[in-house]
């Protein structure tokens, strides 16, 4: 990571810093958006997209980009979503377990692995 991200999206099961991470990206329940500088927390829903017939990852990437984040923390990321995120310059980090708060701490401590390519196949 060349520059430290300020706004980060976390795939999560519900709102708030104590929410568990959701290992899925395209069909996760929601994203918790955390501003690492101010500590502000927002909720970004994935309700409409969760049950998409196809292209859930692409649409999820589009939604996350709309929240103007510089990084994403998720359990897994497939090839199409990864292409969109990479083209838009969003760094993708892997964390499958724990809460948003724990993942944020590990991210800031440089302990989360960054993906240089998708880690799962389509329709994982």
């Amino acid at each position: 990571m060349s520059t430290n991200p300020r706004r980060v999206a976390f795939s999560a099961t519900q709102a708030g810093l104590d929410a568990s991470l959701d290992p899925r990206f395209g069909r996760c329940s929601c994203w918790v958006i955390l501003d690492l500088e101010s500590g502000a927390v927002e909720l970004l829903n994935n309700t409409d997209n969760k049950g998409a017939e196809q292209g859930a990852g692409i649409q999820a990437a589009q939604t996350v980009l709309g929240a103007n984040v510089q990084a994403l923390v998720t359990g897994h990321c497939g090839p199409k979503a990864f292409r969109v995120l990479q083209a838009a310059g969003v760094a993708v980090y892997c964390a499958e377990e724990g809460t948003v708060r724990q993942a944020a701490e590990r991210l800031q401590a440089g302990q989360l692995p960054q993906l240089s390519q998708p880690d799962v196949a389509s329709h994982w």
């Binding site: 017939e53 196809q54 292209g55 692409i58 649409q59 980009l65 969109v84």
Partner: protein, 298 residues
């Protein structure tokens, strides 16, 4: 027979909500029993299989193409309207990198090109599948639609298969439908003259028959039912059809010999030659029902 009846070939879809209910077995048997007056179009383009049971020389192969968007990067203003217009999640706006197209998800609806205010979307003809036409010396013809691996837009290939010109004009075109009750089935059933709904005599079979029948009714396609794997005393399909007022035209018994024949690449008629006459009559019954349905609707 009046001339008008002679002229227009009838399209009969063999459908069922459930996969593995016996659509292909019924379609193949219908074709074999009516070889001189039917052609068959395999509309199950994601996994066509009629050709496995029907051996005949290939007379034509041709690609199926669709218009897929191509973004003219120098004209694109990154407004994102095309992305929001796409109902298939096939487009994404990746910041300064501009609009990305995921060709394999595109259903060629053309909405993106229509809505683009900058004229930055060009529609390019792209191969998405193939049609294979086989012609038997017994008279019948088989058109197989094949969707290329990795593509999601089955309806385009199904429509192309349905539009294919017959090798020779015959009074009946049979359509072996894809399973499910989604857009692939709708594309196959739409504007058909009749639907033969194949249902297995099981609770699962009944559940999916309900879906297929509802689809058929919504599309205004008259239908009748073929009960497959019928066992004495198992009347759940019959009970349902009675309530719906939909006739059952044939019942195929559950027999090990039939399963063995089909597993070996043979057909229903190889195992049960006596059914040949029933399958000839079945087509005539469909025609009668089409005629009476037309009479009833004026």
């Amino acid at each position: 027979m009046k001339t008008s009846e002679k002229e227009r070939p009838l399209q009969i879809a063999i459908a069922s909500g459930k996969g593995g209910a016996g659509k292909t077995s019924v379609a193949v048997a219908l074709l074999q029993a009516n070889a001189e007056r039917t052609r068959l179009v395999d509309c199950d383009v994601e996994e066509p299989d009629c050709h496995l049971f029907l051996d005949a020389p290939i007379v034509q192969k041709k690609p199926v193409t669709q218009l897929i968007p191509h973004i003219l990067a120098d004209q694109c203003r990154h407004c994102g309207r095309c992305v929001r217009a796409c109902q298939f999640n096939a487009l994404a706006l990746a910041g300064d990198s501009g609009v990305m197209v995921f060709t394999e998800l595109c259903h060629a609806c053309g909405a993106c090109a229509q809505i683009c205010p900058a004229g930055a979307i060009e529609e390019v003809s792209t191969p998405v599948g193939e049609l294979i036409q086989r012609q038997s010396e017994k008279g019948w013809e088989l058109v197989t639609g094949i969707l290329s691996v990795g593509h999601a837009a089955a309806p385009g290939v199904i429509s192309a298969a349905r539009r294919e010109t017959p090798v020779r004009p015959v009074p009946f075109t049979l359509l072996d439908s894809p399973p499910g009750a989604a857009c692939s089935l709708v594309t196959t059933l739409r504007d058909c003259d009749f639907a033969l709904l194949v249902a297995e005599a099981t609770p699962f079979g009944l559940h999916d028959l309900e879906l297929a029948m509802e689809t058929s009714k919504k599309l205004d396609v008259p239908c009748a039912v073929v009960v497959n794997r019928m066992r004495p005393g198992r009347t759940l399909i019959q009970d349902f059809c009675k309530v719906q007022g939909v006739p059952i035209l044939i019942e195929i018994p559950e027999k090990r010999e039939i399963a063995e024949s089909i597993a070996a690449g043979g057909s229903l008629l190889d195992a049960e030659p006596d059914l040949r006459n029933d399958f000839r009559n079945l087509l005539d019954k469909c025609k009668q029902m089409i005629n009476s349905s037309r009479a009833a609707h004026g």
